[in-house]
């Protein structure tokens, strides 16, 4: 649709979308690109990268294939990142809409809850949550979402308050539209764009938080993630830096891709000219 | 009167646009005159005002020449600019006094105390009620008409020779509009300044302009002394503009009340 075309016309949007598409494909076809369990011992330990064609990126201390680890790790990172961002947005949208529409004491109460969640540093919140409940993918997703929902809630509420005052909402009331229809047809579609632009940033943050949790050993121990790979490489950082560097690069590329995408999206959304 | 500025073949195209906003304008601005630039939306009148003041956005392609008789004018010092919307052209976090003094302090090198005295003087000249108190007020505490007076005071603080006003009354109601126009006329006369007044209202301009220039679709359609142009318009467009003017003497559209 129109938005997609506008997005692709910006250099950020095009590059970002392209990179994300590649990442998504890698994650999707991980079992094809690197068949078998990435955690199995595949070859000699600590093979240097670019020396052995069977292990293009080398092997780690136990002889596990680094490339397989990165490819499978992509799955986890993208999955957790997207799931956590969706959860954060869902919670944030609901709370923001409720506060913006209800007003009064409900608004006040909800905003104090948002304040509370915003005061606590989101990483510590996630950390505490996982430590208490235990490390598994759903718990990690929830933990990250808990730290991230407050920003979209605030933005949604601000958007609702602003859009509610526009003449076209007044016009809909004068025409006799039912309040529920006004909420869904007039207000909501015009509230969403900036919140969706925020979504991309939340995805990036979620991916980094997941990596950090795994790095600290608080991720799901049964799956491979970029964070856990980086943690593995910590012990031999001086002799075999590539073990941490490659997954680190993968992380950087992913986060940069998400940021570029969100920049492009922001440009595409704002270039929607309000011709008067 | 000699020409303060000679504009030849001025053409402007904004970045990203294919259609030019201004197409080959030839016009002289005479020193000390009151010139009204009249046009509807899209006529290029605002673009012209901004080109004159050097306020075009980055990337705007400008062709043609602007020749100033007194050398290249400095914004704020030689040219004062009044914008259409005083709520947008005044900084909401600075006091009125600070904003009016800003131009004078920067261009005339006044100290803070001198700047404040100058600001007070300017606020008095634009007939702001209770100027001493207004010095320390913020723009949002004033009405729309008062804000525009402040904007005019700020534009004139450094005593420029040329004042350009881009639709300064379009965002204000009729009564305030009449007051602001009277004020501008008075200030320009007292200061011996040149005034370029951009508007869509030909009747408003006719009340005080010496000359009028009619713009349409980026082109200059007609120019001349106000009385002459209004009495004997050369271009069909000018005649149409005059004909579509409506005031209290124009016959109403409704038929005589008969229910």
């Amino acid at each position: 649709m129109r938005l997609l075309r506008k997005l692709l016309r910006t250099p950020e949007g095009a590059i970002g979308l392209g990179l994300l598409a590649v990442l998504a494909l890698v994650a999707l076809f991980a079992p094809v690109l690197a068949p078998g369990d990435p955690l199995r011992i595949a070859g000699r330990a600590l093979t240097a990268p670019f020396t052995d064609p069977a292990f293009p990126l080398g092997t780690d201390r136990l002889g596990r294939d680094v490339l397989a680890g990165i490819v499978h790790g992509a799955r986890t990172s993208l999955l957790v990142g997207l799931a956590a961002a969706c959860a954060a947005l869902a919670i944030g949208l609901c709370v923001g809409l409720a506060a913006g529409f209800a007003g009064g004491i409900v608004d006040e109460a909800l905003m104090r809850v948002v304040d509370a969640f915003q005061i606590v540093p989101s990483f510590l919140l996630a950390l505490a949550f996982v430590s208490v409940i235990g490390a598994s993918v759903p718990v990690v997703v929830l933990a990250i979402a808990l730290g991230a929902w407050a920003d979209p809630a605030r933005l949604t509420r601000a958007q609702v308050l602003s859009v509610r005052e526009r003449d076209y909402v007044a016009s809909a009331r004068v025409v006799g539209m039912h309040p529920v229809e006004i909420a869904f047809r007039e207000i909501l579609p015009n509230v969403l764009p900036p919140v969706l632009a925020l979504a991309a940033i939340i995805v990036a943050a979620a991916i980094l938080t997941e990596a950090a949790l795994s790095f600290l050993g608080l991720g799901d121990p049964n799956i491979v993630t970029w964070g856990s790979l980086i943690a593995e490489g910590r012990n031999v950082l001086r002799s075999s830096p590539f073990l941490s560097v490659f997954p680190g690069l993968a992380l950087v590329v992913t986060v940069v891709a998400v940021y570029l995408f969100s920049e492009g999206l922001g440009k595409a959304l704002s270039s929607r000219g309000g011709a008067a | 009167m000699t020409a303060l500025c000679e504009i030849r073949q001025l053409a402007v195209t904004y970045r990203g646009e294919t259609m030019p906003a201004l197409k080959g304008i030839d016009l002289d601005i005479l020193g000390g005159e009151r010139l009204a630039i009249i046009g509807e939306s899209g006529s290029g009148k605002s673009t012209f005002a901004r080109a004159l003041a050097g306020l075009l956005p980055d990337g705007a392609a400008v062709a043609g020449s602007l020749r100033w008789s007194t050398g290249q004018p400095r914004a704020g010092r030689d040219i004062g600019f009044v914008f259409q919307d005083p709520s947008a052209s005044l900084n909401p976090v600075l006091t009125v006094g600070e904003q009016v003094a800003e131009g004078a302090r920067r261009h005339l090198g006044l100290s803070r105390r001198q700047g404040e005295a100058r600001a007070l003087e300017m606020l008095e000249r634009v007939h702001i009620p209770d100027p001493a108190k207004a010095l320390h007020a913020f723009p949002h505490q004033l009405s729309g008409g008062q804000r525009q007076r402040v904007a005019i005071a700020a534009a004139l603080a450094a005593r420029p020779g040329l004042l350009i006003a881009d639709e300064p009354t379009s965002a204000l109601d009729m009564v305030v509009q009449a007051e602001i126009v009277t004020l501008l006329d008075e200030l320009v006369r007292e200061g011996g300044m040149t005034l370029v007044f951009v508007t869509h209202d030909i009747a408003l301009a006719s009340g005080f302009a010496d000359r009028v220039a009619i713009f349409r679709d980026g082109m200059l359609v007609e120019t001349g002394a106000t009385g002459t142009v209004l009495a004997k318009p050369q271009a069909a467009y000018t005649a149409a503009l005059i004909a579509s003017h409506r005031d209290l003497a124009t016959p109403p559209l409704i038929r005589e009340a008969g229910r």
Partner: protein, 262 residues
Amino acid sequence: MTLLDVKNLDKRYASGGRVVTALDGVSLTLSAGETLGLAGASGSGKSTLARVLTRLVPADAGTVHFGGEDWLALSGGELRRRRAGMQMVFQDVLGAFNPRATVGSVIEDPLRIHDIVPKAERGREVAMLLDRVGLPAAYAARSIRDVSGGQRQRIAIARAIASRPALIVLDEAVSALDVSLREKVLELLVALQEERGIAYLFVSHDLAVLAAVSHRIAIMDAGRIVESGPAAEVIGNPKSPAARALVGAVPRLIGQEDRNAV
């Protein structure tokens, strides 16, 4: 026949610790098919009156009878149904239409909500309304963003007449239009009034616009109606300071002879 009967409307706002009186005991009447011009400077309360009448903001005191019913007492579904009889045209700044709407959907909304015509005939009704306001029927598919200011105002009028109202409140409806477009829109409004017997409450700070279309004019100042009467009377012989200021503020075309005399 009195269509609208307003008695003693009050509206106060609390603003920054002070109480601002927007409406102070406002009373007026409007008959079917007539236009009442409501003039005033900014802050006179005329826009507030328009919003109180269209039930966008609640009144603090007073009564409004519309079509014989107690208009302010209505609420919920009952009010929504009755709204078909009183519509509004806003000053078209960017915010007057949902940016995601199409021209057709904007006009179809009232047709659908008030079931004016059966579903199968709505398309035709929209085309007919577009044609009536001087726009091609093909515009129905266009996005509302792809339409000029003057055209948008015509669409706003089409939307307002779609529900076959008895009264339309126009709040500075032509103030943002170019002078040449203004005349055409005013002509359209007058023609629609003659055809359909719609009454107008026309709010404006420009007395010249009101003189063109109003049967009667009321002048507002500081929340009160300070003068009212037949249009020609109020304009020709303004008694209150507010009325005199409004009359004096209308720019007149001054030709060469006049300027020399001045």
